[in-house]
Symmetry: C2
Subunit: 556 residues, 2 copies
């Protein structure tokens, strides 16, 4: 069996201008980044504004397990399948972060015969967007610490600096640090910490900005500290929003690539859905919708995280209305939710599967609560038995849940035809009553309670004393009307990663709130979730190499 990178390296990849031509884009409409990657120009994006909008199909999933779900794989395969059905389709994915790539997860460009290409470029530095974000984030930190050092005219309380530094790596030793040591010429000593770049507010700002001017306004609003009077200090107060915008001016332009079946794909923006809002950029999604009749896009992790944030935050910010949702599930992951260990997944186990169905049921209810048509997509793995698949299909039929088996990993777009047809059918036949789950006018705690009750299926919310104080403070500062971006483990509907399946009666523990005024939301940190991952004992990096022809080895 070939590995993903072998399939990718042996694939026929065509010059990006040929992919662009499928969407009537000429060489004047983009800049090359190598032969197979391009960035669209602002002029072209602006010129598309009068075009009608294509239909947006959002791909989400059940709660992920160590068994893998293949959401990106299904997203790519569904796009390829829609094109096979003669529908003019584009894909809109997120950019991978080097942290997980070098850590444990591997790449994020799909798998098998449903991949985005050039796989190794996208999984490494790509067009440099994440590096530009890291740089803007850290330039701001350096400028802030320099302000402290050079007289501190803004009277920033050095104990109340909230802006953190960032690296696009899994580096747990940087979670909590002390900087500015060494005496009066080496800065002002203070506690600091690093987040992974994809969790940074600059990443969220880039993903939610609608153009360069909006980007600048959002950057200007970012809260970086509080002054000695406990008033917020913003980037605008520091006067460096222009420099940060300059650093991000190319990163904001969506990146065009292709799938193995030469479906055009915009891969742009890459926040994690557990600790950030988890969706690709509004610029990319909207541009894809202008260029194509159908856009297949994904939101990270399960529907409790990425999809909730897509629908409550990104859709609100970008005025987007999805046409349908695909909920990806695998037999293997459902069996894990049903209590089977990772080592026993290759054995048929109908009982475990049926026990695990509660997890998918919750996500179906969530999408129904948003008023959206949906299809459950079963992402077939080789070890799945006919009896298991039949049991899942039967359960879906019993509950009147539209379902399709996909074999895109093995067969590419051909393996996604059934899913594509079902998706087109629900778009056609089912009523779309899309609405947000909470109103802007709800208080921050009301919004959190709504998400916990309607999306997670939890019983209650407990705020730490710090979070209680912050609720009061944030409302007093007039930030109460912002949506909430929940930071929660992806493994469970609850905030305890060990509670698989469909836990009930649980409490969500909000330990801290963070104002992200540039992104336009309030982050609520729950449970023990961390904004900087660590590396495993044997990182994926240990297997990576370059062969004598300069090709990547050990990326997967």
């Amino acid at each position: 069996m070939k590995t993903d990178i072998e399939i990718a390296q042996q694939a026929t990849i065509v010059p990006i201008k040929d992919i662009a031509a499928k969407m009537a884009l000429t060489e004047a409409d983009f800049d090359y980044y190598g032969k197979y990657k391009a960035k669209l120009t602002y002029d072209k994006i602006e010129s598309l504004q009068q075009e009608p909008d294509g239909k947006i199909i959002l791909v989400t999933a059940i709660n992920p397990t160590a068994a893998g779900e293949g959401k990106s794989t299904v997203t790519v395969g569904l796009g390829d399948a829609l094109n096979r059905l003669g529908k003019k389709t584009m894909i809109a994915l997120r950019e991978p972060s080097l942290g997980p790539t070098m850590g444990i997860k591997g790449g994020a460009t799909g798998g098998g015969y449903a991949q985005a290409l050039p796989m190794e470029d996208i999984n490494l530095h790509f067009t440099g967007d994440l590096h530009a974000i890291t740089t803007a984030n850290n330039a701001l930190a350096a400028l802030l610490d320099n302000h402290l050092q050079q007289g501190n005219e803004l009277h920033i309380d050095q104990r109340r600096v909230v802006w953190k530094r960032a690296v696009d790596l899994n580096d747990r030793a940087l979670r909590q640090v002390v900087i500015g040591l060494g005496g009066p010429f080496q800065g002002v000593p203070r506690q600091d910490g690093f987040d992974i770049t994809v969790a940074s507010e600059v990443m969220a700002v880039l993903c939610l900005a609608t153009d360069l001017q909006d980007l600048k306004k959002r950057l200007s609003r970012m809260v970086i500290a509080y002054n000695v009077e406990k008033k917020p200090v913003t980037v605008g107060d520091l006067g460096v929003e222009g420099a940060l915008t300059l650093l991000l001016k190319d990163a904001l332009r969506p990146n065009l690539v292709q799938t193995l079946e030469q479906t055009p794909a915009l891969v742009h923006g890459g926040p994690f859905a557990n600790i950030a809002h988890g969706c690709n950029s509004i610029m990319a999604t909207k541009t894809a919708a202008k260029l194509a009749d159908y856009v297949v896009t994904e939101a990270g992790f399960g529907a409790d995280l990425g999809a909730e944030k897509f629908l409550n935050i990104k859709a609100r910010s970008g005025n987007l209305k999805p046409a349908a949702v695909v909920i990806v599930a695998t037999i293997r992951a459902l069996k894990m939710h049903g209590g089977v260990g990772k080592d026993e997944l290759n054995q048929e186990n109908i009982q475990a599967l049926e026990n695990g169905l509660a997890n998918i049921k919750k996500h179906v209810e969530t999408i129904e609560a948003f008023g959206l048509p949906y299809v459950v997509g079963i992402n077939r793995f080789t070890a799945d038995t006919e009896a298991e698949i039949a049991a899942l299909q039967k359960w879906c039929e019993t509950h009147d849940i539209p379902v399709a088996l996909t074999e895109v990993w093995e067969k590419g777009g051909e393996g996604g035809l059934d899913l594509a047809e079902k998706v087109l059918q629900v778009i056609e036949e089912k009523e779309n009553q899309f609405h947000y789950l909470y109103d802007d006018a709800d208080t921050i705690d009301e919004k959190i309670r709504t998400i916990v009750e309607k999306v997670y299926g939890g019983a209650s919310v407990e705020f730490s004393s710090q979070a209680e104080k912050q609720l009061q403070q944030f409302h007093a500062l007039g930030w109460g009307s912002l949506p909430v971006c929940m930071a929660k483990t992806q493994y469970s509907l609850s905030d305890d990663p060990k509670r698989l399946g469909r836990p009930e009666g649980f409490t969500i523990h909000v330990r801290e709130l963070k104002p992200k005024l540039g992104a336009g939301f309030i982050v609520a940190l729950t449970g023990d979730v961390m904004t900087m991952p660590g590396l495993p004992k044997v990182p994926a990096a240990n297997k990576m190499d370059v062969d004598e022809h300069g090709n990547a080895v050990g990326l997967f």
Copy 2:
């Protein structure tokens, strides 16, 4: 008077394929990075190995002052002038670092009518090389700290980790930090620090590597720590040289751009010459020499730093033999060396000029000591008076020093014709007896003494007790045959930045030695020189912005 960025933005820039065509490069030989930047392919570089080598002209300078010398400007203008004289010429420059760009220095692509284009891209993220270097550097740090956290099989002494993290920014608050705080799940607490990326060993490795396999070997040799038995631990011991090579596989490919007069330029590698070896990459210099008959390249700061390292380190490592050297001087800077303050530079002051000539005299003697033909290039500024220029020219003639006035800032290549002719003349007429100033077999302290005496004109070297111990240790470890990379202030021939002109009888204080086995040299830190700069009270970033068309504002 137009600013540099106005001149750059109003210039006629041609598609990079037309520039490539001048060197007989086709679209198969490079990858586009936008319309005006390209990276050469490894295949093409390899195919050039049988071609004869062009002549290398090294541009250096007197000790820089706040008044500016314009070494990059002269490098670009000289290349343009040689092309005007019908000589097939390429330029090989270093990539700018964002630290100084956002701090005080501004861009590093020349000035006036002698600039490399696209100026704003090169000065911002360019093709991402520096970001790849930062990422490789910090991925290694994360992998090392993860090794400590996950059982420390290599028995690394956490107090003796020598690998530092890096950012490509001026961020003094990161010079001395403590990481790994927060308890047993957040890493192993230890002292750490950040260098600016351009001072990192990864940057040096990239600039000295001759191909991808050599890069990997060098990365593997880098010393990252000592174990509990005080034995060195390398990247190879950690087993991650493959992953680092993968992260750098595109960064090692030279970048092709153009000057305002459409001279092809390879801009690649960007170490600082005060705290690193300060030359562009061997890959770029050698490739340019294969493609062109003349290559004009620069080494950073004064001849005591960049040129010394070009000639003792880079030339040795890459087996290069320069044909001639240009020593750039300005009337203004010589007056500063002669005792005039920055505010009085616009007034004619022959006496101060004559006092300052001692500085240029020392650098002339240095280049003579290396056995190389040279020309002094006077980089004319508008406030220079005829009497001042005549005095400088007369002094050169009296001392039999070849000299040429250049007006490339104002007139482009046309303003460099006299210098170009003089350079061609010394190549033709003068004897080239190029030799290194010390032998591999000399001890580390002998090498340092040689540099101090023959290049700086100092009287003695004082080693701190730490440096004394390190000398013994490094010789015992068999590292004594490596060349030495001096880290010293650029402002003075001594290690005291306030001693301008030509100080004599001074002692150089070596406070610490650092093994850089991947780069293949030993760094000697002298005086108070720091490997992470700070930002000024009002950073250049405060003036930067993007206009409504997405163009850079405030880059200079």
